[in-house]
């Protein structure tokens, strides 16, 4: 079979001077990635310090600007001249931003009469003879430009050529005003924004591209799946339910939580450590939470401990001179952390479940959960999902799948792949292709398949999944052991969840292995429900009779749905000579215009 959709389009013009990267710009971290057009492989680029997750932080120390890990180290030492967690402030008025993530660093200030947000820092060294350095107010746009300029430089240094364009990932709910602000901030840094793509979509693209490369020969090119992509970051978590059909992605629902991420889990460990400190030292040491610097140290260590616990069973929480000059250390094991953080950890599960509900789907409809974003390294998040979703749902995360890509790198990879696909196009062409007239498309509301089995005991064999955009073409084969004349009856499939009672639940095994005693609440003696998803044949679309099929031969059914919802069916015996041309016919469309409408 030739490739329906995969051949790369010929660029309309040679914008050969473009060197485009993929750029993931989060509130907590940024990542840059590159895909060479010849190899098509995405590669995440390390900066000069060797970091692939570059903290989105700038700090000003004695007239010098630091970025990334070096700047992050300044949060405890020089918090007011360290700018962090501003990405979501772009394009917003002062009254519309939530400053709470900035409590430990520079505080956002009002600019342009409340129209904008900025940070007041001392970016220049103290001039001789002056007691205090002059402060400057840097707008969120200016901070972004400085940050992006450094990212582009890191990429340029690595690639040995000057980067001047990027595909940038943003949350689904980034407004046009925010995109416009990011576009100009990037432009000021010498970066042309080729396209913005939603973070979860980028993560999926990055994942799929890898799968495709790994299994080019052996595996089918791609198959239809309904996927949850959960981008679990530092300060926020964003979830999307995506129908992946023939390599195209349609977002069915999204869910967001702006107060849930790795930082929420850090707080749990901070509390734990602070309480242990107070208990151990009593009045000798003041509560480290009441001192800004001590709190910052605790928070930094909490994150390091949490990362260590993603891999190991225990970690040591240790901070020099935490409070009143006392060095503090505490051993934390993973199960203790998971118990302490249980509520927060369950919030990730609930957020993901809410996205399924919003899409009007059931957990049984979900084929795959792809975990992206740094917090996805946390094994318990995947384990909790495994016990909430059925065994048929594959969970892709470092702790559940040895082949999973680093979740912290997925979005940048996807952006890099998209960048390499479109960097040869003219700007107008890219814009035209992302317009609603091109993207908004009729999608099948029901599945299409065959009515199979004897009369009275019919079942439904699925060929085209619901939520598939049209036009679409799918081919299926079915063996006819007895041969003879067969009836090919094409119908819509109506899916429903069947529930039966059984003694033992068929839940996803990965979930409840070693920690059965943890979730005692869920365990009662009621008979377990076994839920399964079944398709039943609904409305019949067409019938074809294929005569004289050889014993044991295969019958091939090709279903094509046109843009106007007309269905063409071709039924033939596989391997039969051309003189036996098979049966071909059409069902007229419902007259939906080629371009659909929103």
């Amino acid at each position: 079979m030739s490739d329906d959709t995969g051949s790369p389009p010929e660029p309309q013009s040679q914008e050969s001077s473009r060197i485009a990267i993929g750029l993931a710009f989060g509130n907590s971290n940024s990542s840059i990635a590159y895909t060479s057009q010849t190899e098509g492989k995405a590669e995440v680029i390390a900066n000069e310090e060797g970091d692939r997750q570059i903290p989105s932080i700038l700090s000003y120390v004695a007239g010098e600007e630091f970025q990334g890990t070096q700047a992050k180290e300044q949060i405890a030492r020089n918090p007011r001249n360290t700018i962090a967690f501003w990405r979501d402030f772009l394009g917003k008025g002062f009254g519309d931003v939530d400053p709470s993530n900035c409590h430990a660093s520079a505080h956002p200030v009002e600019m342009d009469g409340g129209q904008g947000v900025g940070f007041e820092v001392q970016e220049h060294d103290v001039v001789e003879g002056e007691a205090e350095g002059k402060k400057s107010t840097l707008s969120v746009s200016e901070v972004t430009t400085r940050h992006l300029r450094r990212l582009a430089k890191s990429a340029s240094d690595y690639l040995g050529k000057s980067v001047n364009a990027a595909v940038i990932t943003v949350p689904y709910d980034f407004t046009d005003a925010q995109k416009a602000a990011l576009t100009s901030a990037a432009q000021a840094a010498g970066i042309e924004v080729l396209q913005f793509i939603p973070e979860p979509v980028a993560a999926l693209l990055g994942h799929d591209a890898k799968i495709q490369q790994a299994g080019e020969q052996t595996q089918p090119q791609h198959h239809d799946r309904t996927i949850i992509v959960a981008d679990l970051g530092g300060t926020r978590s964003d979830v999307a339910v995506i129908a992946s059909r023939g390599g195209m992605y349609t977002t069915l629902s999204t869910a967001h939580d702006y107060e849930l991420g790795g930082a929420t889990l850090d707080k749990v460990l901070v509390e734990h450590a602070a309480k242990a400190f107070v208990k151990q030292y009593g009045r000798a040491g003041a509560d480290p939470r009441t001192n800004e610097r001590s709190l910052a140290k605790l928070t930094i260590e909490a994150e390091a401990v949490r990362k260590a616990l993603s891999l190991g069973a225990s970690a040591s929480f240790s901070v020099e001179s935490l409070s009143d000059g006392i060095d503090f250390s505490l051993s934390v094991n993973r199960s203790r952390f998971e118990l302490l953080a249980n509520k927060t950890l369950m919030s990730f599960t609930r957020l993901i479940e809410s996205a399924v509900q919003k899409a009007d789907l059931d957990v049984l409809d979900i084929d795959t959960i792809l975990l992206a974003g740094g917090a996805s390294h946390t094994p318990k998040i995947a384990a909790n999902l495994a016990s909430r979703f059925p065994a048929t749902t594959t969970i892709i995360s470092p702790s559940t799948d040895p082949h999973a890509l680093n979740p912290s790198e997925l979005t940048a990879r996807g952006a890099a792949i998209q960048a390499s696909l479109i960097q040869g196009f003219e700007h107008q062409d890219i814009e035209d292709s992302t317009e609603a007239v091109v993207t908004v498309t009729p999608h099948l509301s029901q599945a299409i398949g065959l009515v199979t089995g004897k009369e009275g005991e019919e079942s439904f064999a699925l060929i085209v999944e619901p939520d598939t955009p049209v036009p679409v073409r799918r081919t299926a084969q079915i063996t006819v052991p007895a041969g003879g004349d067969v009836l090919v009856r094409l119908a819509e499939g109506v899916h429903h969840i069947s529930v039966s009672q059984a003694e033992k639940a068929a839940t996803n095994g990965a979930g409840g292995k070693a920690d059965d005693d943890d979730d005692s609440e869920d365990e009662d003696d009621e008979p377990e429900e076994v839920r399964s998803k079944v398709f039943k044949a609904g409305k019949v679309l067409a019938e074809a009779g294929l005569r004289g099929v050889k014993k044991g031969a295969k019958v091939e059914v090709q279903v094509s749905v046109a843009g106007d919802l007309g269905v063409t069916v071709v039924v033939r015996e596989v391997g039969a000579g051309a003189q036996k041309g098979g049966v071909r016919g059409s069902v007229e469309g419902t007259g939906v215009a080629q371009n659909g409408s929103a």
Binding site: T5, T441, R473, S560, G585
Partner: protein, 62 residues
């Protein structure tokens, strides 16, 4: 797309079944839902090209 292999049995053709050219259109598809495809990836680009040039799959393959 790869060809699907269905594990099921086709019913045999009832002896009284007949249709012109052995094909019978019964009813049209249910009304579709209008949704936006994410404009990313190689498959979307091919879709966009077909749509903008109003080409079908087979024309596109030539």
């Amino acid at each position: 797309m790869a060809t699907l292999q269905l594990a099921a049995a086709l019913p045999s053709l009832p002896s009284d079944w007949s249709a012109e050219k052995d094909f019978k259109a019964v009813s049209p598809l249910s009304p579709p839902t209008s949704r936006a495809i994410e404009p990313v990836g190689p498959h979307f680009l091919a879709h966009a090209r077909r749509k903008r040039h109003k080409r079908t799959f087979s024309e596109d393959e030539r």
